[in-house]
């Protein structure tokens, strides 16, 4: 029996492979399993390749998993397009469409001998039972239920519910296709037992959602009443969620005429006193940068979500990458600090988005949430979240005495000035992109500019002391270390567990606050570190470079960085840690040898 299984399935668009993954995850979640599902496509709408990866576990899932335990190929051409996104190893059971005509001993995977390879006449079974090849994905679900014991009843219950609206005939046809899959599995047993242990939390209430929907829900919970945006993959679902729900809470959403107008409207809404948000991806972030600068100098709260994809330009619009850190931290000209936060999973997207609003409102600043395509579109099963534990921060409004002689940009001890909004008697002022004195009146004075820059930059000092925006696990005094953020953090959490089980003395830092760089927090973390890795999906190693810009890094700290799309695997990170350890041991031996 297994605690954990990773499925990877690929086919042509229209084969329904992603919808099969959805059914599998929903069924597993209904059975009380934990699970994560990621999808990957070409950037076309129909035709072309599509795939999904579903990880099901009896324990909470940290990431979409490494090598596949089960690979399903409806045709080889499409499967191979995903390359390292769907890695097959010696431990993988490979199931594929027999109609491809490829013999079991000649499957086109180079340099690997899977645990078992099974050709199944999937299309033929679909046709003979349901009368149409469109039921191929249901046959696959039957095979999975038969071989791996996941979601037998729950899968068909879900499918029936979905199809019942259409016709009972369709439900019956799919039931037959499903049963055929189960029957095939029973008559062709696997060499090794790969069934999953029964869930220990059967019947428990679970949430099932993806990072984009979670982000939008968190924003509404945090009190966001305005969203201005423009459709762009892979962030659009955030705006879509708002169009369904924000009205219910007295808010509004605008699908603007372009990216600039989207953030512009959000800046306007914030000026009008409302919590406001926009969301985008790389190209949109580039377009929004002038408005981000305006929000910084006008000291207006604003949350900007950047769902990262491969760049530059259109790049890989449907695949994940962590290459927008420079743009998030440094785009928009001038001397400015713009806080950048990053969630690591769908679950902590809730907390991170609320934190972004709290920081934006408290510090009167734009805040960027650096999500990524993987978190945005992956579905996770979650335990219910107790929303009462989250504190909501609102901007500092002027008091009656402040309004006697109101100065919008008044110098205060903590550099934060009470902020009025239109409609507030006594609070009128001129907001502007031009430098201004305390009242808001424009100025060209160099000394005022220096003072105001100082105010706008030093107000963030306390943010750097927020240790709760960093997660440190493992032995705090370990000589080996990992640093990772965003979707890569989940891979490193699993790598940390594996490495510690293998006896490595290692710790992991996951920053939720990427910028400004919290120097002292890193220095304290680095105190014990002799060797370590900053793991990131960025060819330029942007995180490593931002850290190096602000800190003297330990000599043994290295970068493990590469372009996006292809996920890091926990195993390769553990291997890299072993390598670091042996380097460390060699250097120690070197030191111990008496000098000749």
């Amino acid at each position: 029996m297994r605690k954990d299984l990773v499925f990877g399935m690929a086919g042509s668009g229209g084969d329904g492979i992603v919808s099969a993954g959805d059914s599998l995850l929903q069924a597993a979640s209904a059975e009380g399993y934990h699970g994560v599902m990621t999808k990957s496509f070409g950037s076309q709408i129909r035709g072309g390749e599509s795939s999904c990866r579903v990880r099901i576990s009896t324990d909470p899932v940290l990431n979409p998993g490494g090598n596949l335990d089960v690979a399903v190929a409806l045709n080889w051409e499409d499967f191979l397009k995903f390359g390292a996104e769907l890695p097959v190893a010696g431990t993988t059971v490979v199931i594929y469409e027999a109609a491809t005509g490829v013999p079991e001993n000649q499957i086109p995977l180079v340099g690997v001998t899977p645990l078992q390879v099974i050709a199944v006449p999937i299309a033929e079974m679909a046709k003979s039972t349901a009368g149409t090849e469109r039921a191929k994905n249901t046959v696959v679900l039957g095979l999975i239920a038969g071989w791996f014991g996941i979601g037998g009843e729950a899968v068909m219950k879900g499918i029936s519910k979905k199809l019942a609206k259409k016709s009972q005939e369709l439900v019956d046809a799919n039931q037959k296709a499903f049963d055929a899959g189960v029957a095939f599995a029973k008559t062709h047993p696997l060499k090794a037992d790969m069934t999953v242990e029964p869930s220990r939390t059967k019947g428990a209430v679970k949430l099932l959602t993806d990072g984009n929907d979670m982000c939008a829900a968190a924003a509404i919970f945090a009190g966001c009443q305005f969203f201005g945006g423009y459709p762009i993959t892979p962030s659009t679902e955030i705006m879509q969620f708002f169009t369904h729900h924000v009205w219910k809470y007295g808010g509004a959403v605008l699908q603007a005429e372009d990216e600039i107008a989207g953030i512009g409207a959000a800046v306007g809404a914030s000026f009008a006193g409302k919590k406001a948000m926009t969301a985008t991806s790389g190209p949109g972030l580039s377009l929004k940068s002038e408005m981000m600068g305006l929000a910084s100098i006008a000291e207006l709260p604003l949350v900007i979500v950047d769902v990262q994809r491969g760049g530059p330009s259109t790049g890989l619009p449907t695949k994940t990458e962590q290459s927008d850190l420079f743009a998030a931290a440094f785009s928009a000209h001038g001397d400015v600090i713009r806080p950048v936060l990053a969630p690591t999973s769908v679950a902590d997207m809730f907390r991170t988005t609320i934190e972004a609003f709290n920081i934006a409102e408290y510090y009167q600043t734009p805040v960027i949430v650096l999500s990524d395509q993987e978190i945005a579109s992956r579905k996770e099963t979650l335990d219910p979240i107790d929303t009462s534990q989250f504190k909501i921060v609102n901007r500092l409004l002027p008091t009656g005495s402040d309004l006697q002689d109101y100065k919008r940009f008044k110098q205060t001890e903590n550099h934060i000035s009470p902020i009025s909004h239109p409609g507030m008697l006594g609070g009128t002022y001129l907001a502007s992109g031009i430098e201004h004195v305390e009242s808001g009146a424009p100025t060209n004075s160099g000394s005022v500019h220096a003072r105001m820059n100082d105010k706008r930059i030093r107000k963030f000092d306390p943010l750097k002391d927020r240790r709760d925006l960093f997660e440190i696990t493992g032995n705090p005094d370990a000589p080996l270390a990992l640093i990772a953020w965003g979707s890569v953090a989940g891979v490193c959490r699993e790598a940390l567990q594996m490495a510690r089980e293998q006896g490595l003395d290692v710790k992991l830092m996951v920053p939720y606050l990427l910028y400004p760089v919290a120097e002292q927090t890193y220095r304290d973390f680095f105190a014990s570190v002799q060797k370590g890795l900053v793991v990131e999906q960025s060819h330029l190693a942007q995180t490593f470079k931002v850290l190096r810009m602000h800190l003297d890094l330990p000599k043994g700290l290295q970068s493990l960085a590469r372009s996006g799309a292809n996920p890091f695997l926990p195993g390769e990170i553990v291997a890299a840690l072993h390598h670091l350890l042996s380097e460390l041991q060699r250097s120690h031996e070197g030191k111990l040898q008496p000098q000749e």
């Binding site: 107008a261 219910p384 502007s432």
Partner: protein
């Protein structure tokens, strides 16, 4: 609301302490006077007015009023103004800027505010030149015009702002000029009172970089009052016909006023909020949407 419903405010109540930084004789001095008078006539208290501008000489204007002002970035007065109006429809929202701001760098926005019919009044101070950057070609400069970026004469046709907004279906389109301050104040007032997107093109001469014929005297020579021409402002096609003479004639007054104004976007939003908030679960329970049974 009748024109003299409230007399609580006078023009001076909308004038701020900031001394305008414009060239002596600039048309914008008159425009800001016209705005004070119009706001006083409408009678909304200054703190309920949000006045948004872009970048350019004319975009300094919100700072010279006692309203909540926002001097934003080049070309983006309208995107920001629409966010303000949608976030708080109770506010009176004015937007202003020059011809470069409205019809060049920000030229893509106006069509969308018009089709949404957001209740904002947009005042463009059109002087056919970039003044703040010292005299370059603008989107409304006449073909052949020599400027410091067109030393051999412009090769481009100008944008016709009036035809542009009429073609997109703006509910209120007018033109004014400092040649007639009282008339300008009345037009701005009417634009503010119009329920929906209202556009006023104001021929405001640039005394430093403008040509001789574009100064007050030259403008007076080509100006004609639309009312005295017998123009019916309910006739959109007649308005478009007249608007074709932009650049040759200065028609002052209301080109078009939709006699049956459509509901505004901000009003429709209110309706939607009211309808959907009735049975909404509290936001503390928003995650219940993700429960899978």
């Amino acid at each position: 609301m009748s024109a003299n419903a409230t007399c609580e405010f006078q023009a001076k109540d909308y004038k701020s302490d900031l001394k305008p930084i414009w060239c002596p004789g600039c048309g914008d001095y008159s425009v800001v006077q016209g705005i004070y008078r119009a706001l006083a006539a409408v009678g909304r208290p200054p703190h309920e007015v949000a006045f948004i501008s872009g970048i350019g000489c004319s975009s300094r204007i919100p700072g010279y009023t006692t309203a909540y002002g926002f001097n934003t970035v080049h070309g983006r007065a309208l995107p920001i103004a629409q966010g303000i109006k949608l976030a708080n429809p109770d506010l009176l929202v004015l937007a202003a800027g020059g011809d470069g701001d409205g019809f060049s760098i920000g030229g893509g926005h106006i069509a969308h505010l018009i089709r949404r019919n957001i209740d904002i009044t947009y005042l463009v101070m059109d002087n056919q030149i970039y003044g703040l950057t010292k005299g370059q070609l603008s989107p409304t400069s006449q073909k052949g015009r020599t400027t410091c970026t067109s030393p051999y004469g412009s090769l481009e046709n100008p944008v016709n702002p009036l035809l542009y907004v009429l073609a997109y279906g703006a509910g209120f389109v007018a033109q004014a000029s400092p040649t007639d301050l009282a008339g300008m104040a009345a037009i701005i007032e009417e634009a503010i009172r119009f329920p929906g997107f209202a556009f006023v093109n104001i021929q405001s001469p640039c005394v430093t970089y403008g040509e001789e014929v574009q100064q007050i005297k030259g403008l007076k020579a080509i100006s004609e009052n639309l009312a005295s021409l017998g123009h019916n402002p309910a006739d959109r096609l007649a308005a478009m016909d007249l608007a074709q003479h932009y650049g040759e004639k200065l028609h002052l007054g209301v080109f078009y006023r939709n006699p049956e104004p459509a509901p505004t976007y901000d009003a429709l939003i209110r309706e939607r909020q009211a309808a959907l908030s009735k049975d909404a679960p509290p936001k503390e329970r928003i995650l219940d949407l993700f429960i899978k049974k």
